[in-house]
Amino acid sequence: MAKVLIKGNEAVAEAAIRSGCKYYFGYPITPQTEIAEYMAKKMPKVGGLCLQAESEVAAINMVYGASASGVRVMTSSSSPGISLKSEGVSYIVGCDLPCVILNVQRGGPGLGGIQPSQSDYYQATKALGHGDMQLFVLAPSSVQEMAQLTADAFGVADKYRMPVLILADGALGQMMEPVDFDALHFTPEPEKPWAVNGHAGKRKKNIITSLFLKPEELESNILEREKKYKTVRENEVRFENYMCDDADIVIVSFGITARISKAAVNEARKKGIKAGLLRPITLSPFPTDELYRLSGSASAFLSVELNMGQMVNDVKLAVQCRKPVHFYGRTGGSLMSSEDVLEQIIKISGGLL
């Protein structure tokens, strides 16, 4: 079918609507405001609702309420706005509710800047909220993938009753690329017998809460959730292995920097350096086993990120000191070029010889 030229932000919004998401709550912030704009235009046409809340805190709590009533719902923001949502996200996790959250990252900390960044990796994968909690984190690296991973996010969120965070960045959100919406695959929305909604007294009431005052109750609640996380780790890890199996140097990179790194890998191969790219598509769960496997054959790893070195620590944990793990990054809204990454590869390969 015909492709359309569309912004990453708009592709997410369109894919969400096609996934059966009927509710969007948000608050404007650069570089993701096109989502709210698109939702405001399209949601009324599909019988849905787009609401600009008075703040990010209000928006995430509206998501909390809508999700508890059993509908597909999403919110989106950019780095500082995501920080504001963190309390609500923790409550949603504590209640085992599904929802989709998009972070179109910009530079931080604080108000930072508005140009692309990946400096919320720690926040996304370690602590987007208090308590023993994890999110499911997806990292698209093209506009087509922005759309497909949005569709996937709704399926995963419903399947495991957990929030799914899509971790994009300003470049992916703002750029236009061709997207084939007819090629997307969707997961139908399951029955939600746990939802709190009107039932005219015909069933036992459902209670959704994250409050457990007795330590033993809270502990068993967390242990149950941990079983779910284990299932997720065992079944849902996704990555792209690009020429890693015979590679001496494996680059690990996600999102926009994975594309830049892939070009560098191709250039390195032309120069006779065996480079490969391991691109995590799920950042949480992280492709730990695949990286450990590759640490048997590769001589060195290089984590390429738009921050001061965050994912590199997960790579080190996965590789378990079997091989050296290097880091290369830019931050504050600057991007590296593929030539910059190639230079790093050449430098590391020199050290290997």
């Binding site: 508005i114 703002q174 594309r259």
Partner: protein, 178 residues
Amino acid sequence: MTNKMILAGFGGQGILFLGKKLASAGMENDLNVTWLPSYGPEQRGGTCNCSVILSDTDISSPIIGSPDTLVAFNIQSYEKFMPRITPGGVLFADSTLIDKRPERTDISAYFIPATQIANDLGYPKLVNVVMLGYLIKKTAVFERDYMRSYLTDSLPESKAALREANGKAFDAGYGYEG
């Protein structure tokens, strides 16, 4: 083939639109394309640019360090981006608003008084389309007939006057001898 293009000028000169037309024409012709605007506190009359990449291979980054093609619509853009053009690259510039000429000899430079031509035609908002006509003539990035009809056909039939205006502006740019 990869053509990295930066189009730059004032907000309101139709720069993002021109970039989108080139990118979507590339998509129609089965090329990989990316379009990235400068974004932020932009305003009419402020600076504005977009990066368009057309390629028959995967595009690694939508961000362009050194453009193969620069289309400059004001002096600020000319001064900012002209030194960054890849050796062997091409410069297009609106000579109504840019009175400088590059000292570089390693690029091809094409000047057209696009603003003047658009004003003379009575379509002051179609500076970008005049430039598009000229760009197509000098680079053949797309076929003339294809690009002209792609441009006019994208306007609804109910807006016949706009179709005609765009066609005329395109022809004026294409027909400019310089």
